[in-house]
Structures are given as C-alpha cells and as structure tokens.
C-alpha cells in the first residue's frame, strides 16, 4: 500500500487528522492552479476550499488504480474552475491583478516589464482548455498522461491542445519582440 492509499483509507474511515494532513499537503498546488485559471483571489479561495472539502465528502470515490490523489484533486479543481468560468463569467470578482488582502500583499512589488504583462494577458486570453493544459504542464509539472486524466481527454488530444497553446504564445512573444 503506497502513501496515497494509506492516507485516503484513513480519510475514508473518517480520520480528521489524516484529512488535515492531506489538506496541508495539497493546498498550495491547488490554490496556485485555481489562481492561474481564475485570476483573482476571492474565487480562488472559494474554489480551493470547495475542492478540498470534496476530499472529505467524496473520499470514497477516489480509486487508487485510476489516479494519484494529486491528479484526482486537480481534476476536481479543474472541473470546478471550468464550471465557474462558464456559468459565472459575469460574476468574476476581479482581474488577474486584483487587490490582495493586506496579510497577503508583498511588501515590495517590483515593476513588471511590459512584455511580461503582455504575456500574462495572452495566457489569460487563451481558450480555457489551452490555458489549463499549459498551467498543468508548465507550472504544476504533470506529465501529459496525468494532464489528460485531469482534463478527461486523450493524450493525443491533449498534445494537440498543448502544441496550439505554445505556438500561440510563441507567436505573441515574437510580435512583442518585433514591435
């Protein structure tokens, strides 16, 4: 039995300490993923909390032979983000640079250069699936097989999405360098 199985078995049995340990283990990756998908802190908090609550309430639906706990939780977060983006686009709380709470605000935010800002916007404007694929591949460090599991698509479909996303971003970057 691996670590994931032991932890999930404990959570399935109602062990709140095991649950807290799993929350602490995954909260950073999930909140970063949600933030990069949604672009604001308020919605990130709601989605991350809901995803981690499902770790408790839906623990029995996790299958060791299907995916790791991390992949499974990213899939839950991904689905919540996509649902949110599709249903509540009009209610989006803010944009990528929303005002952070004082506790989370860094003391000194360096001026970001124009190219970085433009790339950030280009990433934000990518279609949901392309953005998700890039974030899971580049920032979350998942393999293509794992990303395909998170997004519930075939590896071939994922690779096509990733290629389109990277080519699109590279083209944007070339335009920026040319101008």
């Amino acid at each position: 039995m691996n670590d994931d199985e032991a932890l999930m078995l404990a959570i399935q049995g109602g062990d709140s300490k095991a649950y807290e340990s799993a929350v602490r283990q995954h909260i950073k990756a999930l909140s970063h993923y949600a933030y990069r998908m949604l672009g604001n802190s308020k919605d990130t908090e709601d989605i991350t909390q809901e995803a981690l609550l499902r770790l408790w309430t839906h623990a029995n639906s996790w299958r060791a032979d299907k995916a790791s706990v991390s992949t499974w939780l990213h899939r839950i977060t991904h689905n919540l983000c996509i649902d949110y983006l599709r249903k509540d686009k009009s209610k989006m709380t803010g944009e990528l640079n929303d005002e952070l709470e004082s506790q989370d605000r860094p003391a000194n935010v360096p001026e970001q250069d124009e190219r970085l800002e433009s790339l950030k916007n280009a990433l934000e404007l990518l279609p949901e699936r392309q953005r998700s694929a890039i974030i899971l591949s580049h920032y979350q460090g998942f393999s293509n097989k794992e990303i395909a599991q998170v997004m519930d698509i075939s590896v071939d479909a994922l690779e096509s999405i990733l290629a389109r996303a990277r080519r699109g971003l590279r083209a944007q970057l070339s335009d920026l360098q040319a101008s």
């Binding site: 078995l9 399935q12 049995g13 109602g14 709140s16 649950y19 807290e20 929350v23 602490r24 909260i27 950073k28 909140s31 970063h32 933030y35 990069r36 802190s41 990130t44 908090e45 991350t48 909390q49 981690l52 609550l53 408790w56 623990a59 029995n60 952070l100 709470e101 506790q103 989370d104 605000r105 860094p106 190219r115 970085l116 790339l119 950030k120 990433l123 890039i134 591949s137 580049h138 920032y139 293509n144 690779e159 990733l162 290629a163 389109r164 990277r166 080519r167 971003l169 590279r170 970057l173 070339s174």
Partner: protein, 148 residues
C-alpha cells in the same frame, strides 16, 4: 515531416526542456540542436517563452491558505449526532461493521427496557404485599357470598 518540423512539433508539445521529452526522441533532438541553426533559433524562442512563463508570479496566499485550513477543520468537526451516526453506519470499514452495528442499535430499546424493569417496580411494591392483598380480596369475596 522533416527533422526540423518534428523537432518543432515535439517542442510545442513538451516545451524547451528536452529532458521532459519522450526518451527515444531526446538523443536525435540534441543532435539536431547541435547541428541546425534553425533548430537552435526555435529552441531559443521556446526557452524565452518558458523563462517568461516562470516569471509570471502568483501572489502570496499564506493567509488565504490558513483561512481555508481553519474553515475546513470547522466544517469537518463532528457533532455528537454525527459521531453517533458515524458509529452506527461507518463511512469505511468492513461489511460486518455495517451489519452488526444497526442490529445492536435495534436491540438498544430492549436492553433499556430490561434495565428499567430491574430498577422500577411500577406500583408493585413486593411479592409479600401482593399475596396479602390477594388473600384479603378472597376473604372479602367469601364474606360477600355468606352475607347473600
């Protein structure tokens, strides 16, 4: 598809870090990269993109994460009723615990009845008294028949 086209496709799929490419593609890709100026140019562009993606920050979220942990701990803290229900119908566990616990719970009223009956007389004070009362009633009955 030319070698360069194949190289560009793999880079678009896997990014600039050739170590993350499929193992059997790594050696030919490195070879092409060392020989072809066009491949080097493509690789540089992708490296620039990857470096810039790395530079896009995520704001500090420590306070938010602490708040989530606190909220989740409160949400999963069991009430007494939850704990009783959890004991009766466990979320995990084996089949036997599913079977015998509800049966045991069903027997609880019976056990309570036996326990209470052992402590309370429900108006019957003692066996001796009840016999005396019965004899008294019989004697009253006989007296009634004689008087008739």
């Amino acid at each position: 598809m030319t070698e360069l086209e194949r190289f560009e496709q793999l880079m678009a799929i896997h990014g600039s870090d050739i170590d993350r490419w499929p193992t059997d593609e790594q050696l030919p890709a490195r070879q092409l990269l060392s020989e072809s100026v066009a491949a080097q140019s493509l690789h540089n562009d992708q490296q620039t993109l990857d470096t810039m993606l790395d530079a896009i920050p995520v704001p500090p979220m420590a306070a938010m994460q602490r708040r989530i942990v606190r909220n989740l701990a409160a949400a999963t803290r069991s009430s007494l009723l939850d704990r009783v229900l959890e004991w009766i119908v466990p979320r995990g566990g084996n089949v036997s615990s599913w079977a015998w616990r509800p049966a045991l719970v069903a027997c609880l009223p019976l056990m309570c009845g036996i326990y209470m009956a052992n402590f309370y007389s429900f108006g019957i004070e003692s066996t001796e008294n009840s016999w005396q009362e019965e004899l008294y009633l019989i004697s009253m009955n006989d007296y009634a028949e004689i008087s008739e």
